[in-house]
Symmetry: C2
Subunit: 144 residues, 2 copies
DNA sequence: AACCTAAACAGAAAAAGTTTCTATTTAAGA
DNA sequence: TCTTAAATAGAAACTTTTTCTGTTTAGGTT
């Protein structure tokens, strides 16, 4: 389990709660909001409160198991990240608008230091949306 | 005033409140959060409430006078947009991390329909941070 | 297997952010 | 000037998020 070693390496504990959260993200089609995850956890953990969910989501995002998804308006959402977000491993994510599948985008078009419009680039936020291959197949089948 | 015609074209009214908001954005170095803007408006409009500020920020963003800045974590922030965000005029913004100056980035590296990591791209969110030319000069003067 | 300790936990509470509602006022066209 | 759709204030409700405190637990150590 990649996620488990990320947790350990960060000096965090691998609790039943966190295992379950990761499992829910694995099963889920698409990014989850705190309330949504809380809803799903309540079945297995009736005493689980929303504050704990927030705490764990942030902890898991900080250690690279999850990433914070942008582009859902004001909604806060997280999704599994299959590779840790280290400085040495810069990447972005593309999310399927149909099924929620997350793709790692290794190639980045924005390089720190490049000049853009007279500015020297020092940081960037990129969040992509698209249609994944399986969903593209379904699309063409549906209309064919 | 470009902003004023944008407001008119959207069928909105050009109220003193909105004039003042635009003026504050012009004067401000950097994007503003609703509470920050409210704080500044209270001097001139003592009876101005936060709900009205939210309403107007959204109205001005919808008609293209402002844009919603991403990349400030969970904070909601807006800034002046010097060109309307029409489909025909796609662009992004780069914000100076030193002074808050906003640059329009006309060239976009992500084209709808292009294939990325097996996904067909259908949308993207890009928010850039950088150092503007004047601030770069100041930087080099300071260390020289 | 029984400790030990830092971390995680639940739950309440507070704080912050945001939206909704209604009655009143106003911008701007006729 | 008259008319009307839009903007406004203010209260209230609502949602989201954080903080706090005391209790429990994971995981390493003995
Ligand atoms: Mn990732
Ligand atoms: Mn713009
Ligand atoms: Zn898909
Ligand atoms: Zn600058």
């Amino acid at each position: 389990m990649e996620a488990h070693s990320l947790i350990k390496d960060a000096g965090l504990k691998l609790t039943p709660r966190r295992r379950a959260m990761i499992a829910h993200f694995s099963l889920s089609s698409g990014p989850l909001a705190p309330v949504e995850l809380h809803e799903r956890l309540k079945a297995e953990f009736p005493r689980c409160g929303l504050p704990g969910v927030y705490r764990n989501l942030e902890a898991l995002a900080d250690c690279g198991v999850l990433f914070r998804v942008a582009g859902f308006g004001r909604e806060r959402r997280y999704a599994l990240c299959s590779q840790p977000h280290h400085e040495e491993h810069h990447h972005h994510h593309i999310i399927c608008i149909s099924c929620g599948r997350v793709g790692q985008v290794e190639e980045c078009l924005y390089q720190e230091g490049m000049m853009i419009d007279g500015f020297r680039l020092v940081g960037h936020l990129v969040q992509l949306r698209g249609v994944c291959a399986p969903c593209a197949v379904k699309e063409s089948e549906g209309s064919g």
